[in-house]
């Protein structure tokens, strides 16, 4: 009650369901209405960031400003409004033999969210981030003006917006270069590793490398088996690579709607432990290459309805950090040990090798290894654990991913993102009155010295 017409007061959270905040929301349906008003506001895509990045005093829901505007099926270029989901983009482009140049592990993120967080995928070591495939953006700035920017036009705004967490303005339209694919299947190979050192060795082995790679870590294995993992490498299968059974109609790119395999309700610490053990042995025993449909390979979690509820009402934090190549083994083993000693079951632990840092000033990836862990918000002790992890990361010259963060402090953030000062100068120039402010930016004092 007490809502003004067109403004809805509601409680909101990110994907981790922590923190939960009371926000005002507006939901434009027309492109013209996707605009800034006086006061503080932040754009929101699909709320797939885990923490407080898409929360604020006033949240602008972009979900209905989601039209595909132009698609060049020959050149592989798509122009769309930023609110559209990756799933919808895939449904339109796959039949023409095109795929996303970079995809996060969920197809329920919006284009705008992928730009604002400069998301990375399992191919980062080869293809860089999402932002590096963006040809042009149309931005709606704090003064409600529209400007286009790209790597050659308004570059400063462009590289401050990519990875800029919605703080430079509203991303209205995205012009994206797509990737050619020969089929909707991936050729996948699994390589089991008995411990962390072996995992790193597998990542470093050029003979095993492929377009996509990621290691799933059995985070319940400790001691000598700490960091035991399965490295999963893959590439888009060429039609002639596919076994006869998958050729023909399936070889043409097709998307399909997502089916839910599992209800989150069946997951608890015990089943998670069982799952991890079973998964390690089952997947680890798959020594021969196999073919996986893209939605199984890229979006396994999308198949579990509401899996983010499995950690209960208090939610969880997904802790994702990256540490530079040198010292990465020490850092990651310290991180894993710290978490394992804290006795908090994590459903998911993923390790990935990242390639070089790009020109986007607040972009997360840097050459090294990134570790992602789910940590349930069971009690206040979690904060101490996270501070300890932050210290390890910082000590090794690494950083924490803002799209997943809910607890960093202004000081640690500044130490982790050395190019913040340059970013802040651009923010100051395009949004001097701090019209774009999220709970994340307020917590970290982003936009201020």
């Amino acid at each position: 009650m007490g809502n003004q017409a067109g403004v809805l007061k509601c409680s909101m959270s990110g994907w981790g369901r922590f923190p939960v905040e009371e926000c005002e929301s507006v939901r434009p349906e027309r492109y013209r209405d996707l605009t800034a008003s006086a006061g503080r506001q932040i754009a929101r895509g699909q709320g797939r960031s885990y923490g407080d990045a898409a929360l604020g005093k006033r949240v602008i829901l972009t979900e209905r400003v989601n039209r595909l505007l132009a698609f060049d099926a020959v050149a592989g270029v798509l122009r769309a409004e930023a609110g559209v989901t990756l799933a919808e983009v895939l449904a339109a482009i796959m039949p023409h033999g095109w795929f996303l140049p970079v995809t996060p592990g969920t197809q329920w993120a919006s284009l705008g969210g992928c730009v604002a967080a400069d998301v990375h995928g399992k191919n980062h070591h080869h293809d860089g981030t999402f932002g590096q495939h963006v040809l042009e953006l149309e931005m709606i700035l704090a003064d409600a003006s529209r400007v286009t920017c790209s790597a050659t036009k308004n570059q400063a705004l462009f590289w401050a917006t990519i990875g800029g967490m919605g703080l430079t303005g509203i991303i209205g339209e995205v012009n994206l270069k797509l990737r050619r694919i020969g089929s909707s299947y991936l050729r996948v190979r699994h390589h089991p590793a008995k411990n962390l050192a072996q995992t790193f060795a597998l990542f470093g082995d050029p003979g095993l490398d492929d377009q996509y790679s990621v290691a799933w870590i059995d985070c319940l294995a400790g001691g000598k088996q700490l960091g035991r993992s399965i490295l999963m490498c893959a590439h888009h299968a060429a039609p002639e690579e596919l076994p006869a059974a998958l050729q023909g109609s399936a070889a043409v790119g097709t998307s399909r709607s997502v089916a839910f395999d599992l209800a989150a309700a069946v997951l608890n610490p015990l089943t998670i432990q069982l799952f991890n053990a079973v998964y390690y042995h089952r997947q680890g025993n798959k020594r021969a290459p196999y073919f996986a449909h893209y939605d199984h390979y890229f979006y396994p979690l999308d198949r579990i309805a509401d899996w983010n509820r499995l950690y209960g009402k208090r939610g969880f934090v997904q802790y994702q950090c990256v540490v530079p190549e040198a010292g990465a083994l020490t850092a990651v083993s310290a991180l894993l040990q710290t978490v394992s000693q804290s006795r908090r079951p994590s459903f998911l632990a993923v390790l990935k090798r990242l390639g070089v840092q790009n020109a986007a000033l607040l972009s997360f990836p840097l050459a090294g290894y990134t570790l992602a862990l789910d940590i349930p918000m069971r009690d206040r002790g979690v904060f101490d654990l996270l501070r300890t992890l932050d210290a390890i990361v910082l000590q090794h010259g690494g950083r924490v991913y803002l799209a997943k963060d809910a607890v960093l402090t202004p000081q640690t953030f500044r130490a982790m993102y050395p190019r913040y000062r340059d970013w802040q100068r651009i923010k100051q120039a395009v949004d001097p009155a701090h019209g774009f402010e999220s709970s994340l930016s307020r917590r970290l004092g982003m936009g201020y010295a």
Binding site: V7, R30, R67, L69
Partner: protein
């Protein structure tokens, strides 16, 4: 031969969902409304997602004398028309709409007079072709007058009567006329409004609009339970009803 559907009020979220459902079934679409920028965006979107032809044209409901020309232009753009969805509507401010000089006239004009006017042109065309359909979006608000929004309700109620008459007239020529009565739908019209309950998504309403074509019901409530809610509401004797704060 491809089929073509005309969508009046195409910028509404319900209309957009319905257009998507039609497009998915292989229909080409012609989108009508006042907002050129939006119509162009929605048309591009439908054409890319469903690989259909999506045309659009400016349609200002209040210019009644222009409706004939508009309809002829839609036909000449698309070659033919197999059916029409009337989604245009205007809620306005219910208090202001109590009086005609502060908005009531517009509510009646858009929801009823203009709707009847453009549907008249569509009916003549489809009657001559001896096939096709007209789907009109009314509202549960048109089932019984209530103090909270009776001007809008009266216009929607009148629209339902008009559609009923058309259905009777067009029966012999094989043209289907379907009345759709949604309850609350989560659109720009209702966003942030207090007192909403049992709110349906526009996607759901859009799907029901298209599936209605394959079923026999002439009047559908969306979701279905509104049929029973409105049945009970209509059953309440007037001497009791007039005392209620609804």
């Amino acid at each position: 031969m491809r089929k073509v559907v005309l969508i009046l009020g195409a910028t509404s979220a319900i209309a957009r969902a319905a257009a998507g459902e039609f497009a998915e079934q292989g229909y080409d679409v012609y989108l009508a409304g006042r907002d050129a920028e939006e119509l162009a965006r929605i048309a591009a979107d439908l054409a890319i997602r469903y690989r259909i032809k999506a045309g659009w044209g400016i349609f200002a409901a209040e210019s009644l004398s222009d409706h004939g020309r508009f309809f002829a232009q839609a036909i000449s753009n698309m070659g033919e028309m197999d059916g029409v969805v009337l989604a245009m509507g205007y809620l306005g401010d219910p208090i202001a709409a109590r009086n005609f000089d502060t908005g009531g006239a517009e509510v009646i004009l858009i929801n009823f007079t203009a709707a009847a006017s453009i549907l008249g042109h569509c009916a003549n065309y489809l009657e001559a072709r001896k096939q096709g359909f007209i789907i009109g979006i009314g509202s549960v608000a048109g089932d019984r007058g209530r103090q909270s929004n009776y001007t809008y309700g009266a216009a929607k109620g009148a629209l339902a009567l008009y559609l009923q008459g058309l259905r009777n007239r067009l029966y012999d020529s094989g043209v289907r006329v379907i009345t759709v009565k949604p309850g609350f739908v989560d659109t720009a019209m209702t966003y942030g409004m207090p007192g909403l309950f049992l709110v349906a998504t526009p996607q759901y309403v859009g799907r029901r609009i298209v599936t209605a074509l394959h079923k026999s019901a002439d009047v559908i409530y969306v979701p279905n339970f509104w049929r029973y809610i409105m049945w009970i509401i209509r059953l309440i004797p007037e001497p009791v009803f007039k005392r209620l704060k609804l």
